[in-house]
């Protein structure tokens, strides 16, 4: 259990670093008024990349909280921790990754095909959250 706690704390903080850096990059694109990001024709890209930044950071926080929860709970109550861990890590990749790829190439108001990763990531994320919520309640 301690191994998982350490893994998620590490993963969470690194996620926060990566997606906070993405936020800084997006701010920079704003600062230099880069058309590929700000032009109205690229509205979908802007939305998708902002969602990638937000979801990546959010899931990173959940990793940290999960790590702290595992450490505090001492392992009691939690079932299927390996599966929850995999689901959470996968969601960390699929959710922000899907949004990001959806903004790389897109069709007018519709994101690119990368967006298909998002519902898969969302299901894994919700599954993980549900498992954690139930584990904490035990």
């Amino acid at each position: 259990m301690a191994t998982y706690a350490r893994r998620h704390l590490r993963f969470g903080w690194w996620s926060l670093l990566v997606f906070a850096a993405l936020g800084l990059l997006l701010e920079t694109l704003h600062g230099f008024k880069v058309g590929a990001y700000l032009d109205v024709a690229n509205d979908t890209r802007r939305l998708m990349w902002r969602l990638a930044h937000a979801h990546g950071a959010l899931v990173g926080v959940v990793h940290v909280l999960f790590g702290l929860t595992l450490r505090g709970a001492g392992g009691t109550g939690f079932r299927n921790v390996p599966l929850v861990s995999i689901a959470l890590v996968s969601a960390s990749v699929l959710l922000p990754g899907g949004f990001f790829l959806g903004g790389v190439g897109f069709f007018g108001g519709d994101p690119g095909l990368g967006i298909l990763l998002v519902p898969v990531g969302a299901i894994l994320f919700l599954t993980a959250l549900g498992s954690i919520a139930r584990g904490v309640g035990r």
Partner: protein, 647 residues
Amino acid sequence: MIPARLGPALVATAAIGAATAFGYELLGRRVGARPEQAISDRPIQVRTDEYVSSSACQACHPSQYASWHASFHRTMTQVATPESVIANFDGVTVADVPGRPMRLEVSGRELWAELDEPDWDGKGDAPPRIRRRVVMTTGSHHQQIYWYATGHGRTLGQLPAIQLVSERRWIPRWSATMHPPNVPLVSESGSWNGVCVVCHTTQGRPEFSTPFGSEALFTQDVDTKAVEFGIACESCHGPAGEHVQANRNPWRRYILHLTGQVDSTLVQPARLSPQRASQVCGQCHSLWEFHDPSDERHANRSGLPYRPGDELATTRFIVQPTTNMGSETMKRLLDQDANFVRDIFWSDGMVRSTGREYNGLIDSPCYKNATEPSRTLSCLSCHSMHKAADDTRPLAGWADDQLISSAQGNGACLSCHAPFGGTGLANHTRHRADSSGSSCYNCHMPHTTYGLLKTIRSHQISSPSVQASLDTGRPNACNLCHLDKTLSWTAEHLEQWYTIPRPQALGEDDRSVAASVVWLLRGDAGKRAIIAQALGWRPAQQASGTNWMAPYLGLLLNDSYDAVRYIAARSLKTLPEYEGFEFDFVAPQEQRLARRRRALEIWRDSRARQGRSGDAALLFNPDGTFIAERLDRLLAERDNRRIYYRE
């Protein structure tokens, strides 16, 4: 009994539900703040007949929506708000109106006007004073017109002054158009509901209980509606209800994206034939009438039946003197107004009023003689309703004429007429390739149509012809640039360069007096406006010199038509010594004459240095004075017939 472990889930669900309900309520209140259906004193926007309005398009087509939003099509009709009105209403008094001055004020977000009743019935000593709320605007590019709620249903009345956008000033509404002097104004009350609504909104419906103009306006019931104010997405793409409904399905959308299939649920004018695509524009940019009164009644109730992609002439009569002058409908229209055709068209059938570009296009050889769709001129050959992704101009730059970037030069023409590109250009034009004389537009689309205080290019592609000038009186492209040359000079060059036979009918004035001077002195008000603007046109000034223009523009400063005076003053200010010259074209005549005298004094003082003394073609004696006899004769021969464009 609820299991304890479900408690948190239920709390979370309840919280989400409460937040959703709260948000819905907030949204509902915002939208419901000014529900259109509750407005009774002006036309309203109501979605109907599968129309969904531009708000439904924005989410999926943000780029197209943005360029449309920046266009003057969108702002053609707006609800009057402090944001949409260009003029200053805040405690302003406008004196240049019939009767007593009009007073304007802002009250919160409402705009009010106090004015003499335009629909006064003549009883009593003076028209009663009325105070009305200004509720709608028309235009935002060149002029902005303001409409007030008359209090009779949704009928609108027009303020007697309009805003001239470029100068940010109020002018009388009759001065904004080519209004014949001494012709009394008629009330414009109801005009928006009965006329403007058709083209200045999306799918407008006048909804008069009896035909507009058939009886006293205020005895009619008027319930005017439109899907959307301004010319919006569905004006060109047709009603989008089916398209929106079908594309709620993401699989459908992605299949279309990935396969490149055409979405059959909506009309895309760019995919129509050149003829049908042009008709989309022609539904408004043409002179048309109803085939018969029953068509009017139907459109009055249900809006015009034309939908983008349809054959336009099926449901309306396109007035085209070159092809349907003898038709029954035309005869009926001429019975109602004998000047109906003559007002709007040159005598050879070329349209001379702006806003009717489709009439010009369909008589162009590049359109009517074309055999292949890819080589057929259409509106979309030069114009685009959405700024292209690779167009580097700012939206405001594109919005002015909505030209595609390649159509800003010779590109649009050279796409078919390739041999005239490169070295072939100067061989064809006999002008330097980089000069204005090598612009396709300048020779084949000269500024011979008029509207809204300016001339614009004819949209009927033609070649310079002295014979046509003789036959119709229409200035030709050569003499609109070489303003100091005679018609005979032009005929000689056209014969030498293009073997166009020299007309036999050239008269003494055509051989000896600059054509522009003849048109300016002898021509009707429309021709005077064309020449007045040409005198301020930079390419013409470069080709003809400016050191003779001031006295002629000075003559036009006292023209009987306000519009001609306005254009003349605008051109005068482009001359070197008249920068900053002040002239109020609607000032009382004594003031105008004083300013004209001043303009002539400036010219006389500089005459020794810059004059064209002794140039007989420009009617100058060797001492720099006018050859008065010839000038007076030409003035005496002036065509004073009424000029009235349907602007």
